[in-house]
Subunit: 178 residues, 4 copies
């Protein structure tokens, strides 16, 4: 039976595969982990987990106040063996202000402990302010929250501030698909 | 696969049937409804729905600030055809201060639109300050949140303030059991 | 020099005397106090203090969430020898739901420790839902916040939710008048 | 009469002159203003105003969540002709992460419209992580809030998150000194 309500997911049969990520750098990539290692931070390596992809910019106020704390709560509530919370720094404005050196301090000061990748520029589009993964997922801005099921399908992508109840329900629905 | 995390539910096989409710009065009981009528506000009539039972006292500050708004958010996020949000006024102190006439005004002022029953005193215990349903569910105080599955089994009962993510995940897990 | 800004006070020279209060009952009236006793809870007895009159109804949600906690913060920040925080229960609707017995429990549950009077009905207007002091001050609803200076003049009366910065500045301005 | 309470100020007679500011750069310095120009952003030029100096670091979470919004509220509540709200970026850690180019974007994204100076390194202490003005004021960290009276005296300096009521009262007390 399909759960109804405001936490709708694209039905599995209709959901496209989630696009691959292109990252130039990772922070907080776990070492010595059989489930998640620096090399393994790819969708393929996470197959079998529900993936919660939180995309943000470190100077976006809605991200700092709402999106990021929500991602931290998700990481605290759900078992990391089943739900992988991944940050993606999708800088599309103020590029000089949000470099990896600033991001590193930002993650430290905000106590972000889950892995965060830096979305890479597209070498084929040297003048494009929008990074590659952000384009592939057609994200409208930051924060955006992307849910990917255990089989790697893109089931939900939302822009802006979201209700914890709806997000918790959507993740649990994907978990329950087994 | 069993969802892990901080929203644990009693496994269906180990869960007892939820005790019946004893109420002296109902507010907001819907009329002309095939699924929910004033007479039908019983666990049996709600079989097939996930039931979210929010127990409160109108003068309990944690209820007014946290528990009740959370119950209202649950009613807004989930489809009422699948999830029945029910309030239960379990007065165990200041009885003269929280009579049905005061409760009626409280529900109006707080825009509570879901059904709310008044937990009934046990006629066999005339001096017991604790009402009957509260005793049957062994609730520790207010607010308490009780989750009952589609088959009428008591799957979760928690006292105090709860995280929306965990509550949303727990309800969705019960929904997904089909 | 007159302080400017959004915390304007009626200038002392233009301010009318604050009307007397008519109360049917007091809660939290201090005993054995030379400055404030049950009998002395009148504007005259408080002459020399800045008086912060917080008018509310116990079932008014804006009062419970905002007005009342602000009055409690005022009582905590300012020295009680200089600033008298006084509550006034101005019931103008749902009279049967907000009787003194309910108010007593409400004050207990919300840990209100400052004196609270019950605004009295006007014997000359037996059918008037609006109590006497509320009429005299021409209050528009609850919560309302009234500031009275050390000389007993009505310097400010506002309806609704107010900014702590502005309220703190207004009270301190009256204090500084000496 | 001295206002009592939790918004204590150093008495004027006992207060030292506020140390001068050393800044390497200003943002939001108003142009074409007779009272405040880029050159005039000094304590001397602000003599006659109450000065609210909000010191922060752009990656300090307490600053972003509490200190900075409070400074913005102060700028909104008080008349700018009487109260000058000035930001000071006192970077003492993660220097490479919080450069002026990052600060410029931060101020834009957080809609900070009051003047913000960058606290300058002390040329005599090339290895000191703590900038010059921060040392002169002996600040303990960020956010810190410094209140300077109309005569340029240092009347209050506090570290951490502060109550709006107390801050509003302290500023109004200085304003009322005329």
């Amino acid at each position: 039976m399909q759960a109804a309500g405001r936490f709708d997911l694209t039905p599995a049969a209709a959901a496209p595969p989630a696009p691959a990520w292109s990252t130039s750098e990772w922070f907080n990539a776990p070492r010595n982990s059989t489930t998640l290692s620096a090399e393994a931070l790819s969708l393929e390596a996470l197959r079998g987990c529900v993936v919660v992809l939180h995309t943000f910019q470190m100077l976006c106020r809605g991200c700092v106040l709402h999106g990021l704390p929500q991602a931290q709560r998700i990481a605290a509530v759900f078992d990391g063996a089943d739900v992988a919370v991944i940050g993606l720094h999708t800088v599309f404005e103020h590029h000089a202000a949000m470099t990896p050196v600033s991001l590193a301090a930002f993650l430290h000061e905000n106590r972000v402990h889950f892995p965060v990748g830096v979305d890479a520029a597209d070498p084929a589009r040297p003048h494009d302010p929008i990074p590659q993964t952000m384009r592939r997922y057609a994200l409208r801005g930051t924060p955006s929250l992307v849910l990917i099921d255990r089989a790697g399908r893109l089931r939900r992508s939302t822009f802006g501030i979201e209700d914890d109840l709806a997000v918790g329900a959507a993740i649990a629905t994907l978990l329950a698909e087994g």
